[in-house]
Amino acid sequence: MEEKNIVDIWRSYDQKLEESRILNMQSWVLNLKNFEFLQSQKAKSVLNRLTTGKWFTVILGIIWVVFLVFLVLNSLTINKIFFVVSAGMIAIITGIAIVVYLKQIFLIRQINHSNSIVETQDKLAHLKLSTLWVTRILFLQCPFHTTWFLNWEMLKHAPTGLLIFQVAITVAFTFLSVWLYRNISDKNMHKKWFKVLFGGSGWTSLILAKDFIEEIDEYRQDHIA
């Protein structure tokens, strides 16, 4: 088949669209009154999809951090040192995650569909992958959830077996959180544990984002060549 024939087929598609009146089926969208309605509905839904979920998380996170800071400031005694350090670290790590979320919201607002396809889609795919960062950071909280309730009195009087169990749990959570922090990355996406951790649809969307970034990179490599 010649090049001209392929373009001719596409032209005949134009003709077919006219004949089948498919375009008229969508004409309601082009009515001014309907368009205004669509505009108001879409304004809500687009914001919902892109940022409302993240804003909600940020607000909850801020409330949680403020609550923890309040508790820490009211517990500044040597006997509550475990609580102060644990709650303080949880507040700091949550605070870092909030900053990452705010950065994502800022990036979403920066996305301009009028820019070139490669530029816009690259930003969107990287934004999707940046959710990995938040997960990695939040896992670092895990060991502190095993120590916040401890105090010196409890440790002095606790049986040796319980102390060993406590240390084992804290060490295990520390190891696990550091391991996850180091290993949650796009390089490990195809591993089974990663798929289990992120769930079915979450994992699929991350894989799609990674594959798409590779496709975009491939386009750019050709450009360099």
Binding site: M1, E3, I6, V7, I9, W10, S12, Y13, D14, K16, L17, E19, S20, I22, L23, M25, Q26, V29, L30, L32, F35, E36, L38, Q39, K42, V46, N112, H113, S114, N115, S116, I117, V118, E119, T120, Q121, L124, S201, S205, L208, A209, F212, E215, I216, Y219, R220, D222, H223
Partner: protein, 169 residues
């Protein structure tokens, strides 16, 4: 210019170019409901991005950028991406008139199926090529060099020729 006049003007431009929007929706969505949603999303995003339209460029070039970006994002957000849709269900409703017409229809379906099989960026490239945009325009819309555009189009066309050749054997 008041807002209503601005909207009327915008809708006139959309009306003139709605064929493009429909073709893009058809290339990225597998069912009618999704296509209608995408058409609305594209028109909304065009309106929202209207402020960024630079009159140094042609309206259609700007429109292709916005529409293809929205279509690719929409396609990627879809929960269940259906692999291949051989033919648009809307187009099936067109009555047959002659044998030649039937051959044309088969070719259109085959071309549509081929476009659906392409990856997102290649699909955008192919639509622009078939719309007879210049390499320069395609390069501006996609964001790659003209040389790169030429190389990629040539590869895709080669695949397409082979596909048609295999069918006709």
């Amino acid at each position: 210019m008041n807002q209503t006049h601005g909207k009327e003007n915008f809708l006139r431009l959309i009306e003139e170019n709605k064929r493009i929007i429909f073709k893009i929706c058809n290339a990225y969505c597998s069912n009618k409901h999704d296509r209608e949603d995408l058409a609305q999303e594209i028109i909304y995003q065009l309106w929202k991005s209207a402020g960024s339209f630079n009159s140094d460029f042609r309206f259609s070039t700007w429109m292709y950028r916005v529409a293809l970006n929205v279509a690719i994002s929409f396609y990627r957000k879809a929960k269940n991406i259906k692999a291949i849709v051989p033919i648009s269900d809307d187009l099936n409703h067109v009555p047959e008139t002659s044998g030649t017409h039937h051959i044309h229809e088969e070719n259109i379906n085959l071309l549509q199926q081929f476009i659906h099989e392409l990856r997102e960026l290649d699909r955008a490239l192919m639509i622009l090529y078939l719309e007879e945009k210049s390499h320069r325009d395609i390069s501006e819309i996609i964001g790659i060099s003209e040389t790169n555009v030429a190389t990629r189009i040539s590869r895709i066309k080669e695949k397409l020729k082979q596909r048609f050749a295999n069918i006709n054997q």
